[in-house]
Symmetry: C2
C-alpha cells in the first residue's frame, strides 16, 4: 500500500523521525525515551534524543505501544446510572487518581441492566483496557465472575459481589445504619421501619442485616419492620410506603437504605397526610449533595464517595503494578452521621389529617 501523503493535517511525527533527527536507530531512541531502559544508552545519546523529540514535538503513539506491550493505560469504570447523584463523586475521585498516574478512564453506563453490563464489559476487554472498576456489582454477578476467570485486574466500589475475589472499597454501612437506629431509639422511637434495598445488591443486604442487628442490640423486634424496595429510587421508596400503609403496620420512624428511597418515602407519606418529622422521622443514606437543601433538610449518613472512588482507583493501580491483592480484601471507609431536620422525638400517635 502506498503511504498517502498527508496534506490537510499536521504530519504526525513518529519515533523513527526522532531517531533520524538524533542520528540514531529507532530502537535506541525508544530506549532513550523510556526511563526504565534508559541506562542501556549513553547519557549523550539520551540528551540528543530528548532534544530531537522536543524539537519535533514528538508524542508517542499509545495505540502502537499498546499493541506491542499489551498495556493500554486505560481503566474502565462501570456505573449503573451516572445520573444517580451518588456516582458522579465516585467517578470524579477515580478519574483524579487515574489521571494522576497517567491512566485514562473510560466510562460505561449500564442503565442498571445486567445484559448491557455484560456486553459492555466484553467490549472493554476487546478494547484492551488494563483493568476494571465496577460500581454495578450484584450479589451474583456473572460479569464479575467472567473477569475473575480471565484474571483481569478489577476492583469493586460501593457494591460488592458474593462470589468475587476482587478487592472491595466501600463504606462502613454497618456502623452507619447502627448510628441511625441508635439516634432514633434515643429519640424514643420503637416502631422503626427499614426500607430495604434490593437483595441482589450488597448495599441492600448489608444495610438490612445491619438494621436487624442494631434493632436486636436495642432490644427491638424486626418481624414486621423490614420492607423491601424493588429499587434504590424514589419510586421504590414510595411503593414501599404505600404497601406498608395498606398493611396497616404501625411505625413512627424509618431508616431508609438510600437517600432517594428516603425522599420517595417522605413524598408518599406527605401524600397521605403524614408530616415529617412531626408524624414520622426519616433517615437517609449517602448524604447526596442536595439532601441538606431540602425542607426539612434530611438526617442522613455521609459517605466519603470521592475518597471511595480515589481509593478504588489506587487499589486497582496497585494490582496493575503487579501487587497481587489478598483475595477478599475489603476497605471500609468511615461514615459520619449527620443529624438534620427529618428526625425528631417521637410524639403522641396521630392519624393523618386528623
Amino acid at each position: 500500500m502506498v503511504r498517502t501523503p498527508i496534506i490537510d493535517t499536521v504530519h504526525k511525527v513518529r519515533l523513527v523521525d526522532v531517531a533520524r533527527e538524533a542520528g540514531v536507530h529507532a530502537g535506541t531512541a525508544s530506549r532513550a525515551l523510556n526511563p526504565a531502559a534508559r541506562d542501556s544508552v549513553s547519557r549523550q545519546t539520551v540528551r540528543r534524543v530528548e532534544r530531537a523529540a522536543r524539537k519535533l514535538g514528538y508524542t508517542p503513539n499509545t495505540v502502537a505501544r499498546g499493541l506491542r506491550t499489551s498495556r493500554s493505560f486505560v481503566v474502565a469504570l462501570v456505573v449503573p446510572d451516572i445520573t444517580n447523584p451518588l456516582f458522579p463523586y465516585i467517578v470524579r475521585g477515580a478519574e483524579q487518581a487515574l489521571t494522576e498516574a497517567g491512566y485514562t478512564l473510560v466510562l460505561t453506563d449500564t442503565n442498571n441492566e445486567p445484559d448491557i453490563e455484560r456486553s459492555q464489559v466484553a467490549a472493554m476487554r476487546a478494547r484492551g483496557v488494563d483493568g476494571f472498576i465496577v460500581a454495578t456489582a450484584r450479589w451474583h454477578d456473572p460479569a464479575l465472575d467472567a473477569l475473575a476467570e480471565a484474571g483481569i485486574p478489577t476492583v469493586m466500589v460501593n457494591r460488592r459481589s458474593e462470589s468475587s475475589p476482587f478487592p472491595y472499597i466501600g463504606a462502613d454501612d454497618r456502623r452507619g445504619i447502627e448510628m441511625c437506629v441508635r439516634h432514633l431509639v434515643e429519640l424514643g422511637h420503637r416502631a422503626i421501619l427499614h426500607l430495604a434495598g434490593p437483595a441482589d445488591t450488597s448495599t441492600g443486604r448489608d444495610r438490612t442485616s445491619a438494621f436487624r442487628q442494631a434493632m436486636r442490640d436495642n432490644g427491638l423486634r424486626t418481624e414486621e419492620s423490614i420492607v423491601a424496595c424493588t429499587s434504590f429510587t424514589e419510586q421504590g421508596g414510595a411503593d414501599a410506603i404505600n404497601t406498608v400503609l395498606a398493611l396497616g403496620t404501625p411505625f413512627t420512624a424509618i431508616v431508609a437504605s438510600t437517600d432517594l428511597v428516603a425522599i420517595g418515602a417522605a413524598e408518599a407519606l406527605a401524600g397521605h397526610g403524614f408530616r415529617c418529622p412531626r408524624d414520622v422521622s426519616i433517615t437517609g443514606y449517602n448524604d447526596v449533595d442536595f439532601m441538606r437543601r431540602l425542607t426539612p433538610a434530611f438526617t442522613t449518613v455521609r459517605v466519603p464517595l470521592n475518597n471511595m472512588g480515589m481509593l478504588a482507583a489506587r487499589t486497582l493501580l496497585n494490582s496493575l503494578r503487579g501487587a497481587e491483592p489478598e483475595v477478599g480484601t475489603q476497605i471500609l471507609l468511615p461514615v459520619e452521621f449527620v443529624r438534620r431536620g427529618t428526625t425528631a422525638p417521637v410524639g403522641p400517635p396521630r392519624k393523618p389529617r386528623s
Copy 2:
C-alpha cells in the same frame, strides 16, 4: 523474542487461529468478517469463517485494528466538573448514542482548569481518539483552536467558543431567558436583576445578552440590573447578592444564569431576612433534577440535557463518517419554561425582617 507460553490466562484467540480453523488465510478471514469487504469472499467461505470464529469465541483485537486503520472508535468527552448536576445527563445521552454506534466514551474532568483541559486533550489525542465532544468550551479556547488546527473532528455541547468552527449543540437560551423575563414582568416586576455567568463562557454571555434584549423589549432599563457572578456556583450567586445588597440596588426579582446561582442567591437573601417568593422572585436555569424538590420548588427553564448529549454524539458520529459539517453549524434545542414556587406577583416593598 520467544513467545512466552501463556499459562495462567485463557489463550486469546487471534484472527490467524480463526483462519486456520476455517482453513483459509488470515487476510481472507479478515474480509469474511468485515461486512464492507465481505463481497469479495464467497458465501461458503464466509460461513466457514463465521462458524470458526463463533466456535473459538473470537473477539477482534481493537488495538491492533486501530493501529492499522488509525481509527479507534473512541470518543473523548471533556467536562468541567462531573459533580455539577448539569453534566451527568449530557454524559448519559452521549454515552447512549455512542454505545449504540459501537463507540466507546472516555471521560475527562478538567476541574474547570484550562491547563488541565489542554493537557487532557493532548493526552487523548496521543491515545488516538477519533473525536472530541467538548463541554468545557470557553469564549476564547486555545484547546479548541488546537483541535481545529489539527483538523480533529469535534463538537461543542452546552457551551460554544467564539473562534471555533466546530458544530455547537446547545439550547435556545435566548428564548429561555426571554420567557423568564416575560413571566416576571407579567407578575408585575419591573426591578429585575440578572445574575450573569462568567463572560468567558458562551452561556454566560448569551444569557446576559438575551436578558438585556428581553428587558428592552419590555421597555425596561438594564443599567444597574446586570450583576456578574465569577462562577456558575452557589458561591457565585451568594457573592453577587451580597454585592448588590451592599450597593443598595433596588430589585424585586432575579433572573439567575443557572440553577446553582439561583440557589446560592436564594440562600444569601434568606440570610439577610428576605423571603422568596414573598419579598423577591427568582428564576433558575437548566431545571436540574432537584430544583423541583426544594421548598419552595424553583421556577426555572428546562433544558433537554439528555438530548443535547445524544445530539452532540450523533453530530460527531456524522463527522466521523465523513460528513463535512458546515462551519458554524448550531443546533439549538427548544426549552420549556417551568413555573413553580419561587416566583409570585410583586408585592408592596418590604424591608427584611421588618
